[in-house]
Subunit: 203 residues, 2 copies
């Protein structure tokens, strides 16, 4: 059944977890998922194409877009703005395409405010997984190292709580398969389908 | 991360939709899913093995099991009882295995009462999908036939509303892939995982 609306999939997670690598690997596969293009005020690097790698914007234009609610999320790093223009994402979704955003945790929380119906995936570092084994005494780490790992783990768990799914990035191929499964499953969710069927039966 | 509990997956849908075929095809694949064995009071047919095809029970024993809450669901067809013994399902789930039940719609509703955390999948006949095309005028069916299809469709939509997922059985292989994706996605659900991580971080 043709969907009225596509899914907004937000792939996020702690810095360094491998969001870019996983998203790149997903992109190489033959799926119908569309990839959002970010906007930035930084200068294009050699070979970067406007509208492909980024939408390159002036500072004034970017700030106008923020003011007028045209950014789904944005952040400033090293004096440059980075953000997700709302228009492309909404156009794709309204055409029935699934769109994926690969963004930082703070950005994901901003997106959740305007798109609570999005599918929020937390990419988890395998360290958190390994924690259990280490704590359970098979490892040989000292108390201090375990303590510092625990602090990081607790921060990650707090972030995780805002998401719908947790995908472990133990192997890129496995993480990609899990994300593809989540997209398939979300597209089978009764709550996303029944409205259409009901409408159909009433016509 | 090793799960504390497996999933209870309930595959159901209207009579004749192909539950048995889809479940059989899933079973031929190499997954870790366990298959629940039903109990019945009917006599074993040639080649049927107790504990493999069915648990064969006397009427008295079956009725005692119902009375003592040992059946997750049961129904009577043509003077014989059919049902799902609770023990096997609970043992597997408590060991961390995912278990699938392939049952009729009334049985699925019974299971939902005692296992609301189960994953309820409604296998949908492709006729409901095709309905849209027909109604939209591409078909050549008469008004009466469309009316009777609409009645059936409405009944199916009402049933569907009790489930978490709707899987179209357009092709058996596709339905199997969707079910596998749902199981993978459910195992990535934050709500099913975060409790363990929190516990781990507190230890």
């Amino acid at each position: 059944m043709k969907r009225e609306k596509g899914l907004l999939i937000v792939l996020s997670g702690p810095s360094g977890v491998g969001k870019g690598t996983v998203c790149g690997a997903l992109r190489e596969q033959d799926t119908d998922i569309k990839y959002s293009v970010s906007a930035t005020t930084r200068s294009p690097r050699e070979g970067e194409v406007d509208g492909v790698n980024y939408f390159f914007k002036s500072k004034e234009e970017f700030e106008r877009m923020i003011r007028e609610g045209e950014m789904l999320e944005h952040a400033k790093y090293v004096n440059n703005y980075y953000g997700t223009p709302r228009t492309y994402v909404e156009e794709m979704i309204n055409k029935g395409h699934d769109v994926i955003l690969e963004i930082e945790v703070q950005g994901a929380l901003q997106v959740k405010e305007s798109f609570p119906e999005g599918v929020f995936i937390f990419l988890m570092p395998p360290s958190l997984h390994e924690l259990r084994n280490r704590i359970e005494g098979r490892g040989t780490e000292t108390g201090d190292l375990i303590d510092s790992r625990m602090t990081v783990a607790k921060e990650e768990i707090d972030l995780m709580d805002n998401y719908d799914y947790v995908v472990e990035n133990d192997k890129v191929e496995l993480a990609v398969e899990r994300i593809k499964s989540i997209v398939t499953a979300e597209n089978c969710k009764k709550d996303r389908l029944i409205h259409q069927y009901k409408q159909l039966a009433e016509e």
